[in-house]
């Protein structure tokens, strides 16, 4: 195997592994991130109300 082929294979495998990890992460973040936004707004509203008082 030439150096070019070896490097091309290395990048191909790396890309496949990390992209798979990433899209697994996307599936986790989409629903749970939305839940976190709702929680954040609730907490900030409570803080804001406390400051007003």
């Amino acid at each position: 195997m030439s150096d070019v082929e070896a490097w091309a294979n290395f990048w191909q495998i790396l890309l496949m592994v990390v992209f798979t990890l990433f899209y697994g992460l996307v599936l986790f973040i989409i629903p749970f991130g939305f839940r976190d936004i709702l929680t954040l707004f609730r907490e900030l509203k409570a803080q804001s109300d406390t400051n007003d008082q």
């Binding site: 150096d3 070019v4 490097w7 091309a8 990048w11 191909q12 790396l14 890309l15 990390v18 992209f19 990890l21 990433f22 899209y23 992460l25 996307v26 986790f28 973040i29 989409i30 629903p31 749970f32 991130g33 939305f34 839940r35 976190d36 936004i37 929680t39 954040l40 707004f41 907490e43 900030l44 509203k45 803080q47 804001s48 400051n51 007003d52």
Partner: protein, 512 residues
């Protein structure tokens, strides 16, 4: 030659999406009741949201542009930078090195650490250098965004004067960014980062699929074309005709020190709910850090293959043949997206990138402005500013930075490698500050004078911006050699001055 598939339906998609994002900015404004809410989102972001924000902050129009420029010029070798962007946050996330400690200190800005560990002089110096380096660093962002819009929407063909079109679009983008930043602060950044994370991660994945499955492209074609054009240098970053090992080591240093000191990304270690969330954010965000650099580079690598088979575009990009010097690299990614993606999908992607443009600028400008006020203005005053005064001065600073971006963007010409420009301006702050942060946490004998000397030493990296003048006298000198040696110089200054001028004993005990 520059016509694209962008159509009326895409304009509608962009308009609807942007209106939605700006509405979120207005909505988030209701929650701004203190500086901590404005600058670090009230430290209330949970794991999934903080990870989306960590990835989203650095996944925007500018990032895809500079990664694509280097991908188009250097081929697969650029992926080494993405590999470091993957490995280093993963290491920090697993071990908690530095990031955990920073979150536990409950800081609002990173330079606050320097007063906590060293003294006020170091904090103010770090604040000044951070703002200078950061503002210079983002100086090219609006222009990159405007080039993206111009070529994706097909404006380049309709107007004779493309430079004027780019400058007009850039001005419009900066005005939009300023309105958005002043309105919402960090809460709106975090929320829109989430929206752009969803749109861009799916959109870029689909775009990549379209490119790689195109009959004229495909993985095998890409490898063949690049192999014929550049040989091993297109794949091996250590090859002398590619980046070379000094550049690779410099990138490694940038990753190790930049991950914890480069404020816009490092701030995510401050916005999370607790130290555990910070660690997990870095761990989960590592794959995203890779994808945000690798996917645009890969699309640009595909564009090289696609354009090499098109006689008209080939003359635009490769006037000396594909083995010669590449020209007009910034046009490659927007053009291929505009030509290959179907109408509708381009609109979604452009809308996502425009939103990303807003939130990246928002995050960057807000970070530099808040550091200027909290770490330079406030410590120099005898009486601390009230929260409302701080927010007002931050907003005025935001306007000043916007004005600088407009002037710099119009007058400064894009260098061949925007990535190198960004890395050099980043090194100005990261080399000194990174060593002072790591040293401050893990070396008991680190002193304020040592940290001050290291920070000042970082300023030497500015010389790399004038590399062409220096090469007249030193032909072997490169940006990479200068910038890497700057890390070594800062480390020597830090250790040397810490040993020669230790802090008083009571100070050391207090730090322990």
């Amino acid at each position: 030659m520059f016509e694209t598939n962008f159509s009326d339906i895409d304009y509608v998609i962009v308009a609807v999406y942007l209106t939605g994002v700006i509405a979120i900015g207005f909505f988030a404004n209701r929650f701004i009741s203190s500086v901590s809410t404005y600058v670090v989102g009230g430290r209330g972001a949970g794991l999934a949201l903080n990870t989306a924000s960590y990835i989203g902050t650095a996944f925007g129009m500018n990032e895809i542009m500079y990664a694509s420029i280097d991908g188009f010029r250097m081929g697969f070798s650029y992926l080494i930078v993405a590999l470091f962007a993957f490995m280093i946050p993963m290491f920090l996330g697993i071990t908690g090195v530095v990031v955990r400690r920073l979150r536990e200190l409950e800081l609002t800005t990173l330079p606050e650490f320097f007063e906590h560990r060293y003294d006020k002089r170091v904090r103010v110096t770090a604040g000044i250098i951070c703002v200078i380096a950061g503002t210079l660093n983002m100086g090219l962002f609006p222009k990159l965004g405007a080039i993206f819009i111009t070529y994706t929407l097909g404006f380049a063909d309709q107007n004779g004067d493309t430079e004027l079109t780019v400058n007009l679009i850039m001005t419009g983008l900066i005005v939009l960014v300023l309105l958005y930043t002043i309105m919402g602060g960090m809460v709106s950044v975090i929320v829109t980062d989430y929206a752009q994370f969803v749109v861009l991660s799916i959109g870029v994945g689909v775009a990549l699929f379209y490119c790689l499955s195109h009959p004229d492209i495909g993985w095998a074609n890409m490898v063949d074309t690049w192999g014929q054009a550049r040989g091993e240098a297109a794949f091996n970053p250590f090859h002398p005709d590619s980046y070379g090992w000094i550049f690779v080591v410099w990138m490694l240093c940038m990753g190790i020190f930049g991950s914890v000191t480069w404020a816009p990304e490092a701030t995510r270690s401050l916005t999370s709910r607790d130290a555990e969330t910070t660690q997990r954010t870095f761990l989960l965000g590592s794959a995203g850090s890779f994808v945000r650099l690798a996917s645009p580079a890969l699309i640009a690598i595909a564009a090289f293959t696609y354009f090499s088979n098109d006689s008209l575009l080939s003359s635009h990009f490769f006037p000396d043949g594909i083995a010669g010097e590449v020209q007009n690299a910034p046009h490659a990614l927007p053009l291929i997206l505009g030509k290959i993606l179907p109408s509708g999908l381009i609109g979604i992607l452009v809308a996502g990138f425009l939103s990303a443009f807003l939130s990246t600028h928002d995050s960057y400008i807000l970070t530099w402005a808040s550091i200027f006020v909290r770490d330079v203005v406030n410590p120099l005053r005898t009486q601390s500013l009230q929260d409302k005064q701080q927010i007002r001065i931050i907003r005025i600073t935001v306007l000043c930075i916007g004005l600088f971006l407009l002037i710099w963007g119009v007058w400064y010409q894009l260098p061949d490698s925007v990535w190198t420009y960004l890395a050099v301006t980043g090194t100005v702050y990261i080399s000194g500050a990174g060593i002072a942060v790591y040293g401050g946490i893990y070396w008991k004998r680190a002193s304020s004078t040592g940290a001050f000397a290291a920070l000042c030493g970082g300023l030497l990296a500015i010389s790399a911006l004038f590399i062409e003048s220096l090469q007249v006298y030193f032909p072997q000198l490169t940006e990479a050699k200068l910038a890497f040696s700057n890390f070594v110089i800062c480390a020597c200054l830090f250790v040397g001055f810490s040993l020669l001028f230790p802090d008083r004993q009571d100070g050391v005990e207090e730090h322990e």
